[in-house]
C-alpha cells in the first residue's frame, strides 16, 4: 500500500490540514502553505498530496457546502485521522531525536 513515511511536501500539507481544522480544502491549504512558507505552491501539487494522504489513511474527507464563489460547486474538506496524527508525531520525534544527537562540536566552526 505505498510508502508509509511522509514526503516533505506531504508533511507540510498534513500539518496545514491540522492547522486549518474544519476548513481544510485544497484552495485554503494552498494559500496557507504559500503564506506560511513563502514559497509558491501549485494547487495541483496540493491535490496530489491530499489524495495520496487520504489513500494512506492519514486524512479523511467529506464534501462541504456548494458556494457561489466556486461556481456553485462543493468543496472537499479534509480532517486528520488518528493515524495521521501518529505519522506527524513520529516524524517530528524522529527529527527532534536526530537533532538532539548532533554534538555541539559539529556546530563549532571556530575550532579549526
Amino acid at each position: 500500500m505505498g510508502r508509509s513515511h511522509l514526503g516533505e511536501f506531504e508533511e507540510l500539507v498534513l500539518l496545514t490540514v491540522g492547522v486549518l481544522y474544519d476548513d481544510a480544502y485544497a484552495v485554503a491549504i494552498t494559500k496557507e502553505i504559500a503564506n506560511q512558507s513563502g514559497r509558491s505552491v501549485a494547487v495541483s501539487a496540493v491535490h496530489k498530496s491530499l489524495y495520496r494522504l487520504e489513500e494512506k489513511g492519514m486524512l479523511k474527507s467529506r464534501l462541504g457546502e456548494a458556494e457561489s464563489k466556486r461556481g456553485g460547486k462543493r468543496k472537499r474538506l479534509f480532517n486528520i485521522t488518528p493515524f495521521g496524527k501518529k505519522a506527524i508525531d513520529e516524524s517530528m520525534d524522529l527529527r527532534v531525536h536526530l537533532r538532539n544527537q548532533i554534538s555541539d562540536l559539529a556546530f563549532n566552526w571556530q575550532a579549526d
Binding site: V27, V43, K69, R70, R74, K75
Partner: protein
C-alpha cells in the same frame, strides 16, 4: 459582475475530458475559486492564463479517468473478443492459415518493394547541394524527334561562369580512358578531369587529404576502392602514380586525396579525379574554345533555384554560337536538370552523367505489391464471410446480451487487426529472411530494411491499418447486420449468393492468369534471346583493343602465324564495343546513323554476312569512297537499288557497294540501328579481332593474351571473347525470367489457396445437402456437378476477361523491356488459361473426392 467573467470554454472542455467524474466537482471548484479570485485581482487575461496553467498541471494520474481495466466492462469484452478470436481461429485452422499466410506473403512483398522504392528514391540524394546543382543538357532534333543529351560543348562552362552572376560554381567533367601504373600494378582506368569545384558542389567527403588539392594540376584524388586496388590499406597520400594517355602522353600525378567509400545509394561516382587543365596533356589537340567538342558533363551551382529560369532564357545566345560552328549537329536549346531529380529523369537524357536503370522496377514492383495485397485481402474477405456461418450463433448471443451493431463491427475489426498484426510479424520475418536477400541478390542492389528508418515504421503502420481495414470492413459490416431473430430461427442462408465473393474470386483468377502469362512469356523470351542470332557469328570471334598502328602490326603478324587462327582484322570501331556517329546529308534532311570503320577482313572475321554487293577490297586505298550499309539503313531510306546510291557525309561523297544482314550492335534491349561501314585509316586501328578455328577458341585466346603480354608488358591486356561483349545482359534476362516465375508462383499459390478455402468452407456448409443427395442415391457425377456449377460460370467469365487483359499487360511489359522481343502469341495466353483451369479443377476435385468418400450418415448427424 461575475457574469462577464467566464471560464475559457476550450480549456474547460479539456479538463472535463480528462478528469474523472467523481472528482470533477471538487477539483474544478478549486480551480474556479482561484480563477474568479485572480480575475478580480489581476484581470481576466492573466486569470485565464493561470487557469490554463492549472488545468495542465492538474492533468495528473489522481485526476484522470481510471484506465478501463479496473472499472469498465469494455476491456473485459475485449479480452473476450480476443479469446473468441483465438478460438475461432483454432477451430478453423485452414481458413486462419490461408489468411495469415496470404497476408504475410503479401506484406512481405510490400516490404521488399518498399525497400526497393526507398533505395531508388534515395539514389544520389545524399549530395547536400542536390537542389542547387544542375546538369547542363542539350536538346536537339535527331531523326525526326527531339532528344535530350547530357553532354555539353566544351567552352560553355567557362562562359556560363563569366556571363551569369547567379551561377556560383561550375564544374566541367571529361572522362578519359588511361593506363595507370604504380609499381608493378598496371591497369586501364577511367580518369575524370574536372574543376576543383566538383568536390564542393557534390558531397564526396575525403577520407584522407584535402579537397583543395584538386587546384594543383599535379594532384590526383582516388576513390576508396581504387586506393585499395593500388595501395592496399595504406594511406597513399604523397605517392606518385604514372598516368599514360594513349601512346605518347604521360604524366606523373601525386596522390593528394582519397574519397570516403561512396554511399550505397549512389550513381555518380569516380575512380580518379584530376584537374581539368590536364586535358591538354591527355590530348594535345584539345581546344577549350572548340564548340564542336563535347564534354561528358557541365555542372553548375545556382544558390537560388529561382534564378534557373533567367539563366535558361539567357542561354539563347550560346545556341547561335554552337550552331554557327556545328552545322551537322544543330541544337534546339539548352536546358538544365537538377541533381535531385537527375536519376529519375535520366531515362530521357542520353549520355548523361547519371542514368536510370531502375525504371522497370519502379513501375512494375509497386503494381505487383498492390496486386498481392488485393489478392490476400480478397482471400481474407471470402474466407471470413463464408466462415462466419459458423459464428452466427456467437453473434446472435452477443446481440441478445446487449451488443449493438457497432460493437460487433468493432469486434470483428479488432479481430482482424490482430490477425493482420500477426501476419505482419510473419511477413516481416519472410521479408528479412527470404524475399529481401533473394531480390537483393538477384538484382545485385544493396537493398535493406533498416529498423532506424522512421518511414519504414510509418509504412508498416499504414500497411497494418490498410490491410486490416480493407480486408475487415466488409465482413464486419456484412456479418453484423443480421437480425437476431433470424439467426436463431436458422433462416439465414448466405455465402453461396454473395456477389462480392464471386467478384473477388474472379479478380484473383484474372491476376493469376496475367502473372502466369507473364511467367510463360518471359521464359519463352529468355529461350528466344539465348538462341537468337546476333546477326553475326559471335562464337569463335575474339578481340583485343590496341594502342596504335605499330602495336597492331606486331600483334597482327604474330597472330597470323598461329595455326588456330582463320583470319585477323583491324578496325577503328568494334561490334559491341565502340562505334561512331555519321550524319548523312540528304537533299531534304539530315539523317544520323551509326558508323563502323573497319578493314577488308572484318566481315569474314566477325562472320557478318553480305546480302548483296561486295566486300571492301584488300587494298585500303581503293575503297576510300565506298561504304557498306546494313539492311535497316536500306529500309529506312527506302532504297530500291541500294548499290546505285551515293550519300554525302561531311561533304564527301560515298558510293554504296554492299549491303549486310542486320546485326545487333548492343544487347537486345536496344533495337537494330541503321549502320554504315567504311574503310578505316590504318593509323586509326584501335581493335584487332581474330576468328579462331572451331574448338580452338580457348587456345587462341590464351595465345592472343600471351603474345600481348610478351610484346607490351607495360600495357594491360584488354581483350576477350566476342560472346562476352554484353556484360550482364544475359544475367538480366535470366533474373527477369526468374522474378516473373516467382511472382506467378505466389499469385497461383494465393489464388488457389483462396479458392481452396472457399470451396472447402462452401462444401462444409452444404454437408447436410450432399448427405441427403447421397442418401437419395446421387452419384459422384451429380455431386461433382452441383459443386462445379457454382464456380463454372464465374471461372469462364473471369478467364474471358483475363485472357485479353493478360495479353495486353504482358505485351506492354515485354515491349517496355526489350526493343525487339519475341512477339507474344495467343498460344502463351491459352497455355496460361489451360494451366489455370487445371489448377481450378484440381482444387475443386479434392473437395469432390472428400464429399464422395464421406458417409452420409455422419454428414446428417452433425449439428
Amino acid at each position: 459582475m461575475k457574469k462577464q467573467v467566464n471560464i475559457p470554454k476550450l480549456v474547460h472542455a479539456f479538463f472535463k475530458w480528462y478528469c474523472k467524474s467523481d472528482r470533477y466537482e471538487e477539483l474544478h471548484g478549486d480551480l474556479e475559486e482561484f480563477f474568479y479570485e485572480r480575475a478580480e485581482e489581476m484581470g481576466l487575461v492573466k486569470a485565464r492564463f493561470y487557469y490554463l496553467r492549472d488545468v495542465i498541471r492538474c492533468c495528473q494520474p489522481y485526476a484522470w479517468k481510471k484506465p478501463k481495466v479496473y472499472s469498465n466492462s469494455n476491456i473485459i469484452m475485449f479480452k473476450n473478443y480476443f479469446k473468441t478470436s483465438l478460438r475461432s481461429m483454432t477451430r478453423n485452422p485452414l481458413g486462419s492459415f490461408i489468411n495469415v499466410f496470404g497476408l504475410s506473403v503479401a506484406i512481405g512483398i510490400c516490404l521488399v518493394v518498399y525497400s526497393f522504392v526507398a533505395y531508388d528514391y534515395s539514389l544520389d540524394q545524399f549530395h547536400e547541394n542536390k537542389n542547387e546543382v544542375y546538369l547542363t543538357t542539350i536538346r536537339a532534333d535527331r531523326n525526326g524527334a527531339e532528344v535530350q543529351y547530357g553532354l555539353s560543348p566544351t567552352p560553355l562552362g567557362e562562359l556560363l561562369k563569366d556571363d551569369f552572376a547567379q551561377i556560383s560554381k561550375v564544374a566541367r567533367v571529361k572522362d578519359v580512358s588511361v593506363v595507370m601504373k604504380y609499381e608493378d600494378k598496371v591497369f586501364y582506368e577511367n580518369l575524370r578531369f574536372t574543376d576543383p569545384e566538383f568536390l564542393e558542389m557534390l558531397t564526396f567527403p575525403l577520407k584522407w587529404g584535402s579537397p583543395d588539392a584538386l587546384i594543383d594540376v599535379n594532384s590526383i584524388i582516388l576513390s576508396e576502392p581504387m586506393s585499395v586496388k593500388y595501395f592496399g590499406d595504406e594511406n597513399p597520400i604523397g605517392e606518385d602514380i604514372l598516368v599514360k594517355f594513349g601512346e605518347e602522353g604521360r604524366k606523373i600525378f601525386r596522390v593528394a586525396g582519397v574519397a570516403e567509400a561512396f554511399p550505397d545509394a549512389h550513381i555518380i561516382e569516380f575512380g580518379f579525379l584530376a584537374n581539368f587543365k590536364n586535358m591538354k596533356v591527355a590530348d594535345p589537340a584539345f581546344d577549350e574554345a572548340n564548340w564542336a567538342d563535347l564534354l561528358d558533363a557541365t555542372l553548375i551551382q545556382v544558390p537560388d533555384p529561382m534564378d534557373i529560369e533567367a539563366i535558361r532564357a539567357g542561354m539563347v545566345k550560346y545556341k547561335a554560337l554552337q550552331n554557327d560552328i556545328e552545322n551537322d549537329w544543330k541544337i534546339n536549346s539548352f536546358d538544365f536538370e537538377p541533381l535531385a531529380s537527375l536519376h529519375l529523369n535520366a531515362g530521357g537524357i542520353e549520355d548523361a552523367i547519371s542514368y536510370d536503370y531502375t525504371e522497370p522496377g519502379r513501375v512494375i514492383l509497386p503494381i505487383i505489391a498492390l496486386l498481392m495485397i488485393f489478392m490476400a485481402c480478397f482471400n481474407y474477405i471470402n474466407v471470413a464471410i463464408v466462415s462466419s456461418a459458423r459464428r452466427l450463433k456467437e453473434i446472435g448471443v452477443r446481440k441478445v446480451i446487449g451488443a449493438n451493431r457497432g460493437k460487433v463491427i468493432v469486434q470483428f475489426l479488432a479481430e482482424n487487426i490482430l490477425l493482420t498484426f500477426f501476419a505482419m510479424l510473419v511477413g516481416i520475418l519472410l521479408a528479412y529472411t527470404l524475399f529481401l536477400p533473394w531480390l537483393a541478390n538477384q538484382a545485385a542492389l544493396p537493398l535493406r530494411l533498416s529498423p532506424t528508418d522512421l518511414n519504414l515504421w510509418l509504412f508498416l503502420i499504414f500497411i497494418l491499418l490498410l490491410t486490416g481495414l480493407a480486408s475487415g470492413i466488409y465482413p464486419a459490416l456484412y456479418i453484423s447486420k443480421f437480425d437476431v431473430a433470424r439467426i436463431f430461427r436458422g433462416s439465414i442462408r448466405f455465402g453461396k449468393k454473395s456477389p462480392l465473393t464471386k467478384v473477388f474470386l474472379g479478380f484473383q483468377l484474372v491476376v493469376a492468369c496475367i502473372t502466369i502469362t507473364g511467367a510463360i512469356a518471359f521464359t519463352q523470351n529468355t529461350l528466344h534471346i539465348n538462341s537468337r542470332s546476333w546477326g553475326y557469328d559471335q562464337t569463335g570471334a575474339l578481340y583485343t583493343s590496341i594502342t596504335d598502328k605499330s602495336a597492331f602490326d606486331q600483334l597482327y603478324s604474330a597472330m597470323s602465324q598461329n595455326p588456330n587462327v582463320l583470319s585477323v582484322s583491324g578496325s577503328r570501331d568494334h561490334l559491341g564495343m565502340v562505334k561512331s556517329q555519321a550524319v548523312l546529308r540528304l537533299p531534304d534532311r539530315q539523317y544520323e546513323v551509326d558508323q563502323l570503320s573497319i578493314d577488308a577482313q572484318y566481315f569474314e572475321t566477325m562472320g557478318l554476312q553480305l546480302t548483296t554487293g561486295r566486300n571492301f577490297k584488300p587494298d585500303p586505298e581503293s575503297d576510300r569512297q565506298s561504304i557498306i550499309v546494313n539492311k535497316a539503313l536500306v529500309e529506312n531510306m527506302a532504297w530500291a537499288e541500294p548499290l546505285t546510291e551515293v550519300v554525302t557525309i561531311d561533304s564527301a561523297r560515298y558510293q554504296v557497294v554492299g549491303v549486310t544482314e542486320d546485326f545487333q550492335f548492343n544487347s537486345f534491349y536496344s533495337p537494330v540501328k541503321p549502320t554504315l561501314f567504311k574503310v578505316a585509316d590504318k593509323d586509326d586501328y584501335r581493335f584487332l579481332s581474330v576468328r579462331a578455328r572451331a574448338g580452338a577458341e580457348r587456345e587462341t585466346y590464351d595465345a592472343l593474351k600471351a603474345e600481348w603480354v610478351q610484346l607490351f608488358p607495360e600495357v594491360p591486356f584488354q581483350g576477350g571473347y566476342q560472346e562476352d561483349v554484353w556484360p550482364g545482359f544475359f544475367e538480366d534476362v535470366a533474373i527477369q525470367e526468374r522474378f516473373m516465375k516467382v511472382v506467378a508462383f505466389i499469385a497461383i499459390l494465393l489464388s488457389s489457396l483462396g479458392l481452396y478455402g472457399l470451396v472447402t468452407l462452401n462444401v462444409a456448409g452444404r454437408v447436410r445437402e450432399f448427405s441427403i443427395r447421397k442418401a437419395l442415391g446421387a452419384g459422384v457425377k451429380n455431386i461433382a456437378f452441383s459443386i462445379l456449377r457454382q464456380y463454372m460460370l464465374l471461372s469462364v467469365i473471369a478467364l474471358l476477361i483475363a485472357a485479353p487483359l493478360s495479353y495486353i499487360a504482358i505485351n506492354a511489359n515485354i515491349n517496355m523491356l526489350y526493343a525487339e522481343p519475341m512477339p507474344l502469341t495467343y498460344t502463351v495466353v491459352t497455355l496460361a488459361v489451360v494451366l489455370l483451369i487445371f489448377i481450378l479443377l484440381t482444387v475443386i476435385s479434392t473437395q469432390i473426392r472428400k464429399v464422395s468418400k464421406s458417409s452420409p450418415v455422419v454428414g446428417l448427424r452433425t449439428e
